[in-house]
Amino acid sequence: MGLFDKLKNIVVKTKEENKESIESYDKGLQKTRDEFVSKLSLLGIKYTKVSDDYFEELEDLLISADIGVNTVFKFMDKLRDRVKKENIVDTKYLMEVIVDELFIIYVNNESLSTKVHKNENGPTIILMVGVNGVGKTTTIAKLAHKYKNKKVLMIAGDTFRAGAVEQLKIWAEKTGSLFYGKDSVDPAGVIYDGLEFAKQENAEIVFIDTAGRLQNKVNLMKELEKINKVIERIIPGAPHETLLVVDASTGQNGIMQAKAFKEITNITGIVLTKLDGTAKGGIVLAIKEEVDLPVKFIGLGEKMEDLQTFDIEEYIYGLFKDMI
C-alpha cells in the first residue's frame, strides 16, 4: 500500500472521532495547499517526464517553501538517486515519491512524541520562550484554553515589553486561569514568587511567559539561563516543557533560533504559530532536519481552538489531500 493510501486510511478512520481538529488543519493549511501544492501539481502537468528542467523547477519550488537550502539540496540529491535507481520517468509517480521523502525527512525513523511531559507530583511547569513578536503570550492563552478543566496558572515573566503583563492578565481572566504578575524589572524574581504562589494554590499547570529575545543577544540569553536555574531551584525537575515559539513565516533564521535556544535551555518542542497566514511553513522540516526538534503544537488560526497538537500525518494529508 502506498503512503497516500496509508495516510488516507489513518485520517479517514480518525475523522469521525476527531472532526474538529481535521477541519482546523484543512482550513489552516489552505494557503500552503493553494500555493505550494498546486504549483507542485502544475509542475507534474508541465513536465510529464523527469528531466533536468523539472528538477531545477522543483528545487526552486521547495526553496520557495522555506524548507531550507541545505535540506532542499540534500533532498534533491536523494531524490535524484532514487529516480536513477528505480528508473522513474513518470512525474506523476514521482510526486508520490516526493511526498514520501518529505515525510521521511520529518519522521526519520524515530517515534516522535508530541505528548506534553507532565509532573506526577506537583504542578507541571511549561516555559515559553522565543524571539520577539512570535506570539508567546497568545499561545499561552490558547494552551490554557486546551487545559480548561485543569487548574491553570499564568506567570507574567515578560517584564520588558510595555503592556505585556497586562496582556497576559486579560487572557487569564478570559480563560478563567489564575494569574501571577507584578511591576518589576526582574523576571527571575517574578517567576520565583509566581512558582511559590503556584505551590500554595496547588496549580496543576503553570505557564511562564517570558520576554521576546533575539537569540544573538548574549545578555538576554544569560537571563534565560538564570530563569531556568530559579525554576529548577523551586521545583526540582522543572520546567517539564520548554516550548520554543516560532513564527511560521520565519525563514532560515528559524533554524538559528532553534539552535541558539537549544544551546541555552532544554527545548522540548516547537510551537509553530501563524501557519494560516503563510503559504510556507517549510521551516518545520528544516528545523527537524537540522536541529532535531519536534513540533508539538501548530497555530492554524486566530480562534482559541485553532491551536492544535501537531500531527505529521494530518499535516501531510492536509497539505496534499488534493493530490491523493
Binding site: V134, G163, E166
Partner: protein
C-alpha cells in the same frame, strides 16, 4: 546582522583574486557560493536568479584593465548590483502637510507599536516635529496600554478613544491634532493577515477617511520566502509608500531587504536595530551594501554618535585630552555618553574589515562597564581628579565600596593611565586612528 551573508560573499570573491581573466568556468564556483548565500539569507528565489544572471553577464563582459584586479572588479560588480537591489537612494519621510498623517500597518508581531514609538521619537529629535501617537489596535489585549506606556516614557502624547471604531478614532485624532497644533500623526493599527478581508477593509476605510501621506508596512526582517506575498497583499490593498524592516539586530541575514525594493519598488525607509526607543535608523542602500560586503559603514556610526553625544561636552573632553588633564571625572562622563550609544558591539560591527579583525562577534558585557562605573563612583571627587593619590588604603576602601577587588581597581587605574598616554599621542598627531 548581515555578517553571515557577507562572509559567504567575501569568500566567494576571494577565490577569484589570483585569476588573470574571468571566464564562465572560473567564476561558476563563486556564483554558486553567492547563490547559496543569498538563498540562505532568505532573499526571494526569483531575485536570486536574476541577481546571479546579471552578475554573470557583467563579469564575463568586463574588461580586466591594468589598474584593477579581477577580484576587485568582481566585487565592484557585486556591490553595484547589491545597491541597485537595495534601491538606489535614501527616500525620506513625507513631512509636507500639516499635520502629516502616517499609518503603520503589518502582520501580528512585526513590531508596529514599538516602531510607532521609535518613529515619534525620531521625528521629534531629528526633524523637530511635534508628533501625536494614535492607538488604533483595538483587538490585541493591552495594545493600547503598551502604546500609552511607550508614549509616557518618551513624553509624547498618545491619543486613545477606547476599543470601538478605528475609523472614528483616527478622525477624532486628526481633529484633536489640528486643535492642539500637532504637526505629525502616527497611527498604530492592529496586526492582521493580508488575506483577512474584513480587517483589510478596516484599513481601507481609515485610508478613505483621512488619506494618509504615508502608509508604511512594518515587516519582520526574519521573514522567509513568504515576505513577498505579505508585501504584495498589503500593497495591492493600500498602495504602500514605504516599509520599515524590524529586528535587524537579530542575526538574521535579512534577505527581505534585498527583495523588497526590487520586487515591489517600494522603498525601505527605516530599519529597527535595537530594543531601545532610539533604535531606528534611516535606510541608506549604499551603506547597507558596504556593510554586507564588509566594507564598513562609518557614516552610520557617525550618525549614531551625533545622535546621542552632547557636542559641547565632547568638545570639552577633547580639549582636556589634548592638554593631558583628562581625569577620572571626565572618564566617568565619557562612559555615560558611550552607554547612550547602546550596545558597543553594534558599533564595532560597522567598522570596515570588522569580520577580518574578528570583532563581528565580540560581546561586551554591560556588567563590565557597570563594574568600572561602580569603582569610579566609589571614589571621592578629590580622588577622581587626582588619581595619583590612590594608595593601598584608599584602594581597599574603594574596592569595598564598589564590591570589586583591589586587583580590579588596580587594573582600571592602569588602563586609565595607558588610555591617557594614547590620547596624548593621538592628539599630538604622532599616531593615526586605526581607521
Amino acid at each position: 546582522m548581515f555578517e553571515y551573508m557577507g562572509d559567504r560573499l567575501s569568500n566567494a570573491i576571494k577565490n577569484i583574486r589570483g585569476l588573470g581573466k574571468i571566464t564562465e568556468e572560473n567564476i561558476s564556483e563563486a556564483l554558486r557560493e553567492i547563490r547559496m548565500a543569498l538563498l540562505e539569507a532568505d532573499v526571494n528565489y526569483v531575485v536570486v536568479k536574476e541577481f546571479i544572471a546579471n552578475i554573470k553577464e557583467k563579469a564575463l563582459g568586463m574588461d580586466v584593465g591594468k589598474s584593477l584586479k579581477p577580484d576587485e572588479l568582481f566585487l565592484k560588480i557585486v556591490k553595484d548590483e547589491l545597491i541597485s537591489l537595495l534601491g538606489g537612494d535614501y527616500v525620506p519621510l513625507e513631512t509636507s502637510k500639516n499635520p502629516t498623517i502616517l499609518m503603520l500597518v503589518g502582520l501580528q508581531g512585526s513590531g508596529k507599536t514599538t516602531t510607532a514609538g521609535k518613529l515619534a521619537n525620531f521625528l521629534r529629535k531629528k526633524q523637530a516635529k511635534n508628533p501625536l501617537l494614535v492607538a488604533c489596535d483595538i483587538y490585541r489585549p493591552a495594545a493600547i496600554l503598551q502604546l500609552e506606556t511607550i508614549g509616557k516614557s518618551l513624553g509624547i502624547e498618545v491619543f486613545t478613544e477606547g476599543k470601538e471604531n478605528p475609523v472614528k478614532i483616527v478622525k477624532d485624532a486628526l481633529a484633536y491634532a489640528r486643535e492642539s497644533k500637532k504637526d505629525y500623526i502616527i497611527i498604530d493599527t492592529a496586526g492582521r493577515l493580508q488575506i483577512d478581508e474584513t480587517l483589510m477593509q478596516e484599513l481601507k476605510d481609515i485610508t478613505n477617511e483621512v488619506n494618509p501621506q504615508e502608509t508604511i508596512l512594518v515587516i519582520d526582517a526574519m521573514m522567509g520566502q513568504d515576505a513577498i506575498h505579505v508585501i504584495n497583499g498589503f500593497n495591492d490593498a493600500l498602495s504602500l509608500t514605504g516599509t520599515i524592516l524590524t529586528k535587524l539586530d537579530g542575526n538574521t541575514k535579512g534577505g527581505v531587504a534585498l527583495s523588497v525594493r526590487h520586487l515591489t519598488n517600494i522603498p525601505i525607509k527605516f530599519v529597527g536595530d535595537s530594543e531601545k526607543l532610539d533604535g531606528l535608523s534611516e535606510f541608506y542602500p549604499e551603506r547597507m551594501a558596504n556593510r554586507i560586503l564588509d566594507m564598513g559603514d562609518i557614516l552610520s556610526i557617525v550618525d549614531k554618535v551625533e545622535n546621542v553625544i552632547d557636542e559641547k561636552e565632547a568638545m570639552d573632553t577633547a580639549k582636556k585630552m589634548k592638554k593631558g588633564t583628562f581625569d577620572l571625572e571626565d572618564f566617568l562622563a565619557t562612559l555615560k555618553q558611550i552607554k547612550k550609544l547602546g550596545p558597543l558591539e553594534n558599533l564595532l560591527k560597522m567598522l570596515p574589515g570588522a569580520r577580518k579583525m574578528g570583532i563581528q562577534n565580540v560581546n561586551i558585557d554591560p556588567k563590565d562597564m557597570a563594574h568600572v562605573e561602580a569603582i569610579i563612583l566609589s571614589m571621592t571627587s578629590y580622588e577622581r581628579r587626582h588619581p595619583d593619590c590612590l594608595k593601598a588604603t584608599r584602594k581597599q576602601r574603594i574596592a569595598r565600596g564598589s564590591g570589586r577587588s583591589v586587583e580590579e581597581v588596580n587594573r582600571l587605574l592602569k588602563q586609565f593611565e595607558e588610555m591617557k598616554k594614547m590620547m596624548k599621542m593621538v592628539s599630538s598627531g604622532n599616531m593615526k586612528m586605526p581607521f
